[in-house]
Amino acid sequence: MYFAAKVDKEKCNGCKLCILSCPEPNVIKFNKDDKKVVIDAKRCKNCELCVVGCPSKAIEIVLLQDS
Amino acid sequence: MNQKTVINKKTSNGVNRKSISIRMSGLGGQGVITAAHIIGGAAVLDGKFSTVNPFFGAEKRLAPAESYVRISGKNIYERGEIVYPDVIMVFHPHVITMGKSYTMPFYDGLKSNGIVIINAETELDFTAEDKRNLSKIKANVFYVPATSIALDVAKTELSVNMAMMGALVGVTKIVSMGDLKESLRERFGKKKFIASATTAALDDAMKSKFAKTEQLIEKNMDVVKKAVDMVKKTAI
């Protein structure tokens, strides 16, 4: 069980500001097909900088159950 | 291009085949290290073995400076300071009178029947104890007015060491005049020589006194020859 950032695809406008505010490499990826971001939760350190930086309030920190 | 003394294959002139060690004591800037280099170089040109090394501190002008020359017909192993010299050369009276020396008293370690050559215009006033000790080891004390010879003949104090070498050759015949001249030419004739940065600067000063290297060598050889004539033994 751990906390990690999660994107609400409905709200994401693909501005990529979250990618530029994340201190971790290769965590937030940009999907060229739907022009939205995806988060690799396993590498997320839960700093919340993307949450603060997202103008669309599309990211929140959630408690993930998987190991 | 590079400083080198190619060893002459000719046989020794036969003078003084046995080993000799010389301790030169002077003050920084007087050329004790250069003198040792030239004497050692002349011996090597003669087909002998020689090692030459200086000893000084981080101090510069007028601080004690010593150099040591070992010459032998056989391989030389011992290194460093010469503790038991055959010859002691004193380039400046202050070595004795002001104690500007690595060895106190200045004759310490001199072998029996050894030679002392002092640069002074007049005889020095040794203490009674010094006189007693010097005569006990049967020291042969010579004086040479090296500074005035240098000023008279070469018109520069930088040639004091040449006069001292002349006195040495006059007394010991340790190297020939020809080899000495050749060694001198190798030392000053080449474009650049470095023993230490300070020595290099003094070399340039020396060269600036003379229009040409050959003139420098001739004049300095004149100093040497005059010193050969003027060195005098004194009773203790």
């Binding site: - | 590079n2 003394t5 020689s50 090394n53 030389i76 192993y77 230490s196």
Partner: protein, 384 residues
């Protein structure tokens, strides 16, 4: 870059070391260093005018100006120089520098780093006393302090040794199964400032260039694949694997030094040299202490005393088996040293079977000379 290129023919190391006709020159130890570097095909040399100073590194500057070395500059301090030669070596060029005494200690942190990064740097150390009280005079105390940095450690007796050891060190250092820095020590003044006859190879030949792609570690030039763990191994991860890597890497550095033995044997004719090793009394020494011992032995023989001499040329790798065998059954092993700590006696005591016969004397330090008479007195005492 120097203004004019020098034409030198590249020859095999064996040719330069052993076959080329040598010429005798009457030069100082510092000049011998210059002559060595002239023929070593060195790419870069970096200097610092340390106090204590020898002329070696500014003479190397002169041959840079003549075109024998591709790049050269005066660094800002000893640590800066030792760091810059590391950078140059990681960049894949052959480098040389020299230091000694206080300067060496100021840069100390880099020496184990060189070894750990497997850099084949050749550095000459000209031994001087260490503070305090202030001294700049000859004293070999620094060797004892630098023995366990992972570098190979050689100790020159004469200017001839210095010339040969530096030149050969490049080839030994760069052997792929070694690939370690080599520290060539020589005693300040006694060797650096002493003018003596040295036999040297012609100046128109030089060693083959260094090939960094033969190194057992990647050269840092972005011409080899980027890997996750770089030439600086295994730092900063706190887990069992990283500890195990670090430990095994240290073993590998030491093992590489041991593998240098065969190359030292090949090029330097052995880690040590012996004379009269059958005698009951042996002198074991390195550096200038060997010269003083030779002079003492001549006098001992004149008195009818038989003494053998063991000259240690390599201190890392240390010729432990050789020394153990040589010392076996001897009456005494005399170890004269130019330092107060007696590191060589300590080393020898650690490998001989009965170490009570190892005599750590005479010792002189702080710039003192060692009259052969002092060694002779030990020989006489042991002969009774």
């Amino acid at each position: 870059m120097a203004d004019k290129a020098i034409q030198q023919k590249i020859v095999e190391p064996e040719e330069l070391f052993f076959k080329a006709k040598r010429e005798k020159q009457f030069i100082t130890g510092s000049e011998a260093v210059k002559e060595s570097i002239k023929r070593a095909n060195v790419d870069m040399a970096i200097s610092y005018p340390i106090t204590p100073q020898s002329e070696s590194m500014h003479l190397v500057g002169d041959i840079y100006a003549q075109g024998y070395v591709k790049d050269y500059y005066r660094g800002e301090n000893e640590l800066g120089v030792m760091s810059a030669v590391a950078g140059a070596s990681m960049g894949g060029v052959r480098v040389f520098t020299a230091t000694g005494g206080q300067g060496a200690l100021r840069a100390f942190e880099m020496f184990p780093t060189w070894a750990g990064a497997r850099l084949p740097i050749v550095c000459a150390f000209f031994c001087r006393g260490l503070n305090s009280p202030l001294t700049i005079q000859p004293d070999t105390i620094e060797i004892g302090l630098l023995l366990d940095t992972g570098m190979l450690v050689l100790h020159a007796e004469t200017a001839q040794d210095l010339y040969d050891m530096i030149l050969k060190s490049f080839i030994i250092a760069e052997e792929p199964d070694v690939h370690l820095p080599v520290a060539v020590f020589a005693d300040g003044f006694f060797v650096t400032h002493t003018r003596e006859i040295v036999e040297i190879a012609p100046e128109d030949i030089k060693l083959p260039p260094y090939n960094p792609y033969k190194a057992p570690v990647p050269v840092m030039d972005m011409e080899t694949p980027p890997v996750r763990q770089m030439r600086d191994p295994f730092v900063m991860k706190s887990n069992y694997v990283s500890y195990a890597c670090h430990a095994s890497w240290q073993q590998e550095v030491r093992a590489a030094a041991e593998r240098a033995r065969k190359h030292i044997n090949k090029y330097l004719g052995g880690l040590l040299e012996t004379g009269n090793e059958d005698a009951e009394i042996l002198i074991m020494a390195s550096g200038t202490a060997v010269s003083q011992s030779r002079a003492a032995i001549i006098r001992a023989e004149a008195e009818g005393l038989k003494v053998g001499l063991v000259k240690l040329k390599s201190l890392r790798p240390f010729p432990k088996d050789e020394i153990k065998a040589l010392a076996k059954g001897k009456k005494a092993v005399i170890v004269p040293e130019f330092n107060i700590t007696g590191w060589l006696a300590r080393e020898i005591k650690s490998v001989v079977e009965d170490n009570s016969k190892v005599i750590g004397a005479p010792r002189v330090y702080g710039g003192m000379t060692m009259p052969p008479k002092l060694i002779l007195e030990e020989i006489r005492r042991c002969s009774k």
